[in-house]
């Protein structure tokens, strides 16, 4: 089957456009209809606007790296597996975030100072 160049260009443009529209991890962290992690957690100074949120613990890079990426991924997917009493939402299990979004957040949190 022959595929024309203009057709490929349109598909490529659509893929690139969709990628460009994806929220960054920092945006996912703050968006009320996405992670909204900023409602509960504070980040190290300079990473995000100052906040007094403290329903959850403050997040530091050292703590995130101690947890490790697989456990962070599991916690974001469903924190109740580890702690049934947690108030943290099950972002993956309840489809608040998709797998790619969880991965982006994991990378973001793992790289925190």
């Amino acid at each position: 089957m022959r595929v024309s160049w203009p057709f490929c260009a349109i598909i490529l443009a659509m893929v690139l456009d969709a990628a460009a529209q994806q929220p960054t991890a920092a945006e996912l962290f703050a968006m009320p209809d996405k992670g909204h992690c900023s409602a509960c957690h504070q980040l190290p100074a300079g990473i995000a606007p100052a906040s007094r949120a403290d329903l959850g613990p403050p997040l530091s890079g050292a703590r995130m790296r101690e947890l490790g990426k697989p456990r962070m991924r599991a916690l974001l997917d469903d924190p109740m597996t580890e702690n049934p009493d947690t108030v943290m939402p099950p972002f993956g299990r309840h489809r608040i975030l998709d797998a790619a979004e969880i991965d982006r957040l994991v990378e973001f949190l793992h790289a925190l100072p």
Partner: protein, 276 residues
């Protein structure tokens, strides 16, 4: 003692025992939550529970004695509806003892004849219905919200004294269950923030403890009265849950549960809350 009299005495004793048992159950629930909150918030004075979230925010606390911006207009709108003459010449005030003064502290109350909880909003609509007047929309801040702002202001300082008789115990328990049940996409329960997280902050917003949550309604936000039911519905949306409709029985039961928890605390209507 003749047999029928003995039977009557036995029945009375059983009823009293049942009532005592059920009251103790509601009291036990309150004691357990109070003990938990005391342990979590040891520096919070008992009287400060009535301040709600303002107890944890210096700015809100400092402004808690000043009239909320827009409250005067809301109160006047409520007073006009309250004083409006029905077709038969009566007014809303004629349906309540003392013209509505110092009554809010007794609501919600269980009506044994209707076999249901009656909130203050429902009592207003019962009054309108009994006089063949159009009912107020419980979800409308301009009508029912304004009436609540005025009527509840007539009970400022009155201490909450909500009773849970034996027959109402299942409704109280249902309110407790709803308050502690995780709901919606975010999987929060009301208690996640207001028991487990009481005194902490969600974003910039301090989280009021469950005890004291029933004392200061409506709040005035951006010049509009927000009733407790309206605020619970906002929370449900935040939780990613479909809110119960305005006036739903679920909201009545949550209010009944929360009002009982706040028994003994003074009412103060129309406190200021920041715009969102």
């Amino acid at each position: 003692m003749r047999f029928p009299e003995a039977l009557r005495a036995l029945a009375l004793a059983c009823a009293m025992l049942a009532a005592t048992g059920c009251l103790a159950a509601a009291a036990d629930v309150k004691n357990e939550i109070a003990a938990r909150l005391r342990a979590q918030l040891p520096s919070l004075a008992p009287g400060d529970y009535a301040l709600g979230s303002a107890a944890f925010d210096e700015g809100l606390r400092a402004g808690s004695d000043a009239p909320a911006e827009g409250a005067a207009e809301v109160l006047e709108a409520g007073r006009r509806i309250w004083a409006r003459k029905f077709k038969n010449g009566r007014t809303l005030a004629t349906c309540f003892p003392n013209g509505g003064r110092r009554v809010a502290g007794n609501y919600p109350q269980y009506d044994p004849r209707l076999k249901r909880i009656v909130t203050l909003e429902m009592a207003v609509n019962q009054c309108l219905k009994s006089h063949n007047e159009p009912l107020l929309d419980q979800g409308d801040p301009r009508s029912m919200g304004a009436v609540m702002a005025y009527l509840r202001s007539l009970s400022n300082g009155q201490k909450l004294a909500v009773r849970v008789p034996a027959a109402a115990e299942p409704r109280f328990e249902d309110g407790r269950r709803l308050y502690f049940t995780r709901m919606g996409q975010r999987n929060f329960a009301c208690a996640s923030c207001h028991v487990q997280g009481a005194g902490r902050r969600f974003g910039d917003q301090p989280l009021s403890p469950a005890i004291g949550q029933a004392t200061h309604w409506p709040v005035i936000r951006a010049g509009a009265p927000i009733t407790m039911h309206a605020r619970i519905r906002e929370c449900l949306e935040l939780m990613g849950a479909a809110p119960f409709p305005a006036g739903a029985e679920e909201l009545n039961r949550i209010e009944y549960f929360l009002a009982y928890l706040s028994n003994g605390l003074p009412l103060k209507a129309n406190v200021a809350r920041p715009a969102r």
